[in-house]
Structures are given as structure tokens and as C-alpha cells.
């Protein structure tokens, strides 16, 4: 059976998120491998100037639904996001387009929507995938379980599947410069009613202007080895020298040195940057749970037996107060050339 693939991509403030390109790249690959048609769908407004860029990644057809057009009609005003309405919109598009495979990113939004869409479309769900392959026309996905301590290969019991891709794992890949056809979705055809706006996001509070660890491609994290909150400027300086975000171990979050939003690990965020630099972090299994699938891990720790060295690609045994400033200098030096 040939598939029809719907890639749902996210935008923010009139721009597509980086995850959008990851999703299109992978959806395009699955479409190619299984000889299927690909349709890209997004919800948002003011995206016109951005649309052409998607064609470089293999998107030929983009459907756009501007839900703000419906707000006034339903007298639901001023919402940023409504889970039931978004889930219904995506499910309706999948149905009308006859799509049996829905691909999206495992961002906060994607994780919130995927289960809803799977129930609505009676699909199997493969969440947080890190690898997708096709065997005999069937999709087999790999995803981490037990906090990354093991992996499972999964297949679906039906021919309808919703997949979410772990962010930063599938790299965007330019294919050809094609043309993209854009079609506006008539929002009234989505049969949304006031009930679908029973829970709405009224406001988004940006914690600070800093890059979030969960979205960053380079992360510098600090642990108890930094000795106190007053020393975290070292971590911030190192992070900014490589344009990265700052992260933290739970020990320093619990101690109140750093905000919880920076915590990496089992009870914090799961991150998969290209580069993760752990400074003064021992490498407890719960910390590793959040970062062990980073592409390149660098550890700086004065204890040569610290467990973090076992999963590090590179490491320096030494004092953070000596190494971090030197490393910051060296990064600045080579990156300014």
C-alpha cells in the first residue's frame, strides 16, 4: 500500500521553527523511500515571505490554516494556542487529504498534540523517535525508553501512524530548489466549534530572552563543582563564547543556584545538542538520562573517576576554575578567526 504523508510544521512569530525543516526533511525521505505523496501543513499567520524557503527541503505543497480568522467568529478572542482546536484541525486535514502517516516534531507543542491526534484519527503513535526506517513498506521507528538507558524498535498494529521526532536528531537537509505550491485552508471547513476552545493559552511568558536548553544546539552545563551561584558567570561566558545555552544539574537547581528551567536530566529537560559541555557535574544516571544522546559530550571534572567521563567523547581532568576561563579564551580566539 502506498502512503500519504502529512508533515505538520510549527511557526512562531511569522517564522518557521528549526524543527519544521527537520520534519520536512524526514517526511520527504520517508515519502521517497516508500513512493508516497507528501503534504506539509502549518497553522499560523504572516508566513508568506518564509514559504519559498521550505521548497529547498523537499516540500512541494503547503497547506496553511490561519486560525486567527476563526477567533472572532467563535467569539474566542486573543488566544495563542488551543490544544483541542489544533488537534482537531490537524486531524481534519489528515482525513480530508487521506493521509495515513502524520509526522511532527516532539516539541512542547508536538508532544501535547500527538496523543490527541492519534486518538482522533485512530492511529498508532510512535513518539520521540530518533530513527525511522522502512522495511518491506512498513515503518519501523526507534525510540529511547528508560531515560535513554535502552532503545526500542516499534512497529504499528495499523496502517495509520502518528510520529513525533526528537528535536535536533534529524538534521535538515537541502535537496533541490523546487517550487512550492501554497494553499490556504478554509478554516470553516475544519468544523471547529466553541467547545474546541475549552482550554486556551492566554499568554506566553518568556522566562528570559536567553536561548532555552531544550532548543539549543550547543549547551554548557554547570554542577555542584562550581561551588556557588556567584560562579556561574563562568558557565554563561563559556556558553556565550560558542553561542550556546546554559544548563544545570539538579543539585544546583535544588540548591537554588539556578532556575528549574535550566535543569537537564530525568526530572528536567531532555537535550540532544551537537555539543554538550558538562562542568563540575559528576554524571549521575539521572543527569545522563537527559543528555546522553548529545552528539558530542565534553566533560570537565577534577575527579578522573567521575562517571561523566565514561560517556564523554572528550574530557579534561582538572579544576573548573582554571579550565573554563582558558576554554572560553580559546573558543573566542578560534571563532574570531
Amino acid at each position: 500500500m502506498s502512503n500519504k504523508i502529512l508533515a505538520f510544521i510549527e511557526s512562531k512569530d511569522g517564522k518557521f521553527k528549526n524543527s519544521a525543516l527537520e520534519v520536512i526533511t524526514e517526511a520527504h525521505k520517508i515519502a521517497d523511500d516508500s513512493n508516497s505523496e507528501l503534504i506539509v501543513f502549518t497553522i499560523g499567520s504572516d508566513l508568506d515571505s518564509e514559504i519559498q524557503s521550505l521548497s529547498n527541503y523537499g516540500a512541494k505543497k503547503l497547506l496553511v490554516a490561519d486560525l486567527s480568522e476563526i477567533n472572532t467568529k467563535n467569539s474566542v478572542t486573543d488566544f495563542k494556542y488551543s490544544p483541542p482546536a489544533f488537534a482537531k484541525a490537524i486531524s481534519e486535514i489528515a482525513k480530508t487529504q487521506g493521509a495515513n502517516i502524520i509526522l511532527m516534531s516532539a516539541t512542547s507543542l508536538g508532544k501535547d498534540l500527538a496523543g490527541r491526534i492519534a486518538v482522533r484519527t485512530d492511529s498508532s503513535i510512535f513518539n520521540d523517535c530518533i530513527d525511522i526506517k522502512i522495511f518491506d513498506g512498513n515503518i519501523v521507528a526507534t525510540r529511547p525508553v528508560y531515560a535513554g538507558k535502552s532503545l526500542i524498535d516499534i512497529k504499528a498494529a495499523s496502517d495509520r501512524i502518528v510520529l513525533t521526532l526528537r528535536p535536533n536528531v534529524f538534521k535538515p537537509h537541502k535537496t533541490e530548489n523546487g517550487n512550492i505550491e501554497m494553499e490556504k485552508v478554509d478554516v470553516n471547513s475544519l468544523s471547529l466549534n466553541p467547545e474546541d476552545f475549552s482550554s486556551v493559552v492566554k499568554e506566553i511568558v518568556v522566562s528570559n530572552e536567553k536561548l532555552d536548553v531544550a532548543e539549543a544546539d550547543r549547551i554548557v552545563s554547570g554542577g555542584r563543582g562550581l561551588r556557588g551561584p556567584e560562579n556561574f558567570h563562568l558557565i554563561e561566558d563559556l556558553a556565550s563564547s560558542i553561542g550556546g545555552a546554559t544548563g544545570a544539574s539538579r543539585a544546583v537547581v535544588d540548591a537554588g543556584w539556578r532556575p528549574h528551567s535550566e535543569q537537564v536530566g530525568q526530572t528536567g529537560k531532555t537535550v540532544t545538542p551537537s555539543l554538550y559541555i558538562a562542568c563540575g557535574i559528576s554524571g549521575a544516571i539521572q543527569h545522563l538520562a537527559g543528555m546522553s544522546s548529545s552528539k558530542c559530550i565534553v566533560a570537565i571534572n577534577k575527579d578522573k573517576d567521575a562517571p561523566i567521563f565514561q560517556i564523554a567523547n572528550y574530557g579534561i581532568v582538572g579544576d573548573v576554575f582554571e579550565i573554563i576561563p582558558a576554554l572560553t579564551q580559546e573558543f573566542k580566539k578560534v571563532l574570531s578567526n
Binding site: S150, S199, V201, I204, G318, E322
Partner: protein, 249 residues
């Protein structure tokens, strides 16, 4: 207020994972089980709501007999009643869990259903939103702050780079995230009281997973990293390797 809290039993987070002979699950020998840590936040929030608004807290778990231990932990913290939806098999996916919870809860008319945002075994992050669709009750997950007054719900949900402030109405499903509260430690009195609380057992009504595990495997071991021991003197070599070998800078 009628409060339901859903709890699951998971391997302790320090468990060293070994793959079983079937290559489809972990080897359970020597594994110790705990209540899912996120569910402790859910139980705590349930108890706080009861203290404020009155009512009762019903703890539900879907699973094999073992899942009783999760309900017992909820009892020790202070939950009033418990239901085990008993599955004959330990092999079930998120949909099967959500479906069985929904079948039971639909006749209960709760004001609020509290859950953890994720269970730390399969890291699904799915059951709250799936249950939402099945029961047609809104759900908000990864919640770090919850306010309920006059039937109106205001929740703060953690997202990349900030928080979403979400407004909804009762009934509601909430998935709790660390930061929402500090789960209480059971005291001697509540532990003693928990012993006489019965767990009602009902049979699972739905079987039929939608996802099949074909293989469980361990992640490829990192081939030994390059660890330097000359401190500051190795910094420039490290940066060279990051650029030329790892190509990440």
C-alpha cells in the same frame, strides 16, 4: 470535590537496565519498583485540593497485581480510596492504559483528574492527552502551577523558553511537572491508616495494543573518549579536536 489521581509503578530511576531473553523488555530480576516520581506530585496536588475544598481522593492504577504498590504509596501519602484496573498482561501501550482508565473514569464524574506528566519507564508523555480525547475533558500537561477558583482553572505549563498561561474550566485533566509542589513524606499515622484501606479490583475491559515492540536493545556504547589529564595545557588541543575531528565548532 471529586478528585482522581492516576498512578503507575515504574522501575527505580537508578535501575541498571538489562535486556530480557525475549529481547522485548527489560530483565526484571533484581529491579526494585517505585511509584512514578511525577505521580507523587499529582498525589500531593490532589491532597492539597482536598484540604482546601473538601471531598475525596481516589487513586487509580492500571496494571498487573504489582501496580497495587503504587496505590499503596498514594494511600500512605493520604489518598482515600483505590482502584486497580487489572491487566492480565504486563505488556501494554499508552493507548491501552488511557482507554482502560477512560472506561472506568467515564462513570465517575470527577471534577479533576491529576496525573504525572510522564511515566519514567517508557517516557510516554501521552496518557493525559489521550485520556482527554477519550473522555472529552480538556487536559493541560507539564504543569508547574495550578489555581482553581469558582470552577475556573488557571495553569502554568512549561514550554521551551518560558511558560504558557492556560485558562480552562472544570472538569479538567492535569499532568504535573516537578516544581508544582513538594510531595509530602508519609508520616507514621498515615502509614498506619493506609493499611486498612481496601483496594477495589476490576478487570481491564480493553486489550489490543496499537504499538508493537519488535526489539529492545541497549544504546551503542560510546567508544572510549579522549580524556586529557594536563589541565589547562590541554585546552587548545581539545578545541582543535572539537573543530577538526568532531566538527562541532
Amino acid at each position: 470535590m471529586k478528585i482522581i489521581v492516576c498512578v503507575s509503578l515504574v522501575p527505580d530511576s537508578t535501575t541498571k537496565v538489562k535486556i530480557s531473553d525475549t529481547k522485548k523488555s527489560i530483565d526484571e530480576n533484581g529491579v526494585s519498583y517505585i511509584i512514578n516520581p511525577y505521580d507523587e506530585f499529582a498525589v500531593e496536588e490532589a491532597l492539597k485540593l482536598k484540604e482546601k475544598n473538601g471531598g475525596e481522593v481516589l487513586a487509580i492504577s492500571f496494571g498487573t497485581d504489582k501496580a497495587r504498590d503504587a496505590i499503596k504509596k498514594a494511600f500512605q501519602m493520604g489518598a482515600d480510596k483505590g482502584v486497580l484496573i487489572k491487566s492480565s498482561s504486563g505488556d501494554f501501550d499508552s493507548y491501552t492504559v488511557a482507554r482502560n482508565l477512560a472506561e472506568y473514569i467515564k462513570n465517575q464524574n470527577p471534577d479533576i483528574i491529576l496525573m504525572g506528566k510522564q511515566s519514567i519507564d517508557f517516557d510516554g508523555l501521552l496518557v493525559p492527552s489521550m485520556l482527554s480525547e477519550l473522555l472529552n475533558i480538556p487536559s493541560i500537561s507539564v504543569v508547574v502551577k495550578l489555581d482553581i477558583a469558582d470552577g475556573k482553572v488557571i495553569a502554568e505549563r512549561e514550554v521551551e523558553g518560558g511558560k504558557e498561561i492556560i485558562e480552562s474550566s472544570l472538569p479538567i485533566i492535569i499532568g504535573t511537572q516537578k516544581g508544582i509542589n513538594e510531595p509530602r513524606y508519609p508520616n507514621l499515622k498515615s502509614i498506619m491508616a493506609s493499611k486498612s484501606k481496601p483496594i477495589e479490583e476490576i478487570q481491564a475491559s480493553y486489550t489490543g495494543n496499537k504499538v508493537e515492540i519488535t526489539e529492545m536493545k541497549l544504546p551503542a556504547a560510546k567508544s572510549g573518549g579522549k580524556i586529557f589529564t594536563n589541565g589547562k595545557d590541554d585546552v587548545s588541543e581539545l578545541v582543535r579536536l572539537l573543530r577538526e575531528e568532531a566538527k562541532v565548532i
